[in-house]
Symmetry: C2
Subunit: 154 residues, 2 copies
């Protein structure tokens, strides 16, 4: 769980803005009936199925307070993505112009982190069952955050 | 930009759910008048200032299509966070019970990824000026995604 893995040129020294690399650890995994990318909808609200998030025992205490009805933002590591892609056609639509990946939701991007807002249907100590998740079976889970309501409810 | 850094026990083999580690590369940096964590608001809509996102030349093409008025989800690496924290009191409020970090928005968590929805005020080839960002100066940027509108507008 160490933070900084490597650092070469500092922004003050070399003109490069940022060259640090950090290690992200898988903390769990998606279990889903979606087995391949071709079968997966593009977003969770486009017909995605229920799925289970199965967590490492080590992070179990971090799940305390999440229960049925919680709305959470799930972060995944899109392990099948192409990290060298910088431009794409949104939704692979050939009629749309080439667009920078940061202006899209393409999984192909330098750091392929998936962002999914999902509702928890059921929670047990190391497993959350969630509705409407478009990530495929085996996708690593890297973070969970409670969704933000209005400022008064924080 | 390699994907998998290390893998020890596969879920099928060892009973561990997930032990892989991935490398996330800084692609830019936050430039902000916020210089320390104590001065930073807890969320972007709680009085956070304008900031600049300055990107590595290498990812410049990925920014094509983002302009003034774009609403984007910015992902940062919260380099000052404590990665060993699993439980906390939300908003450091001593009257609130200890809660798992995944049920909060605490920066302290196993993978300290910050999530910020911000509006772009101005865009130049390697810089985005954004409104309402609570991340402190020097925070590494790791991803940008266009915010999702309704399904028809994707």
């Amino acid at each position: 769980m160490a933070g900084l893995v490597s650092a070469s040129i500092d922004s003050e020294l070399g003109g490069e803005v940022s060259v640090e690399t950090y290690d992200v650890r898988g903390i769990g995994v998606v279990r889903s009936p979606l087995r391949d990318l071709e079968a997966a909808p593009r977003q969770g609200d486009e017909g995605a199925p229920e799925a289970e998030l199965v967590f490492d025992e080590e992070v179990g205490p971090a799940l305390q307070g999440i229960g049925a009805g919680s709305v959470v933002v799930l972060l995944t590591w899109l392990h099948r993505a192409n990290r060298n892609t910088l431009e794409t056609r949104p939704r692979n639509d050939p009629t749309r112009p080439m667009t920078g990946v940061f202006a899209t939701r393409s999984p192909d991007r330098p750091n392929p982190i998936g962002l999914h807002t999902v509702t928890v249907l059921d929670a047990s100590p190391l497993t959350l069952r969630v509705a409407g998740l478009e990530a495929i079976d085996g996708t690593p889970v890297i973070d969970v955050k409670i969704a933000l309501g209005s400022p008064e409810t924080r």
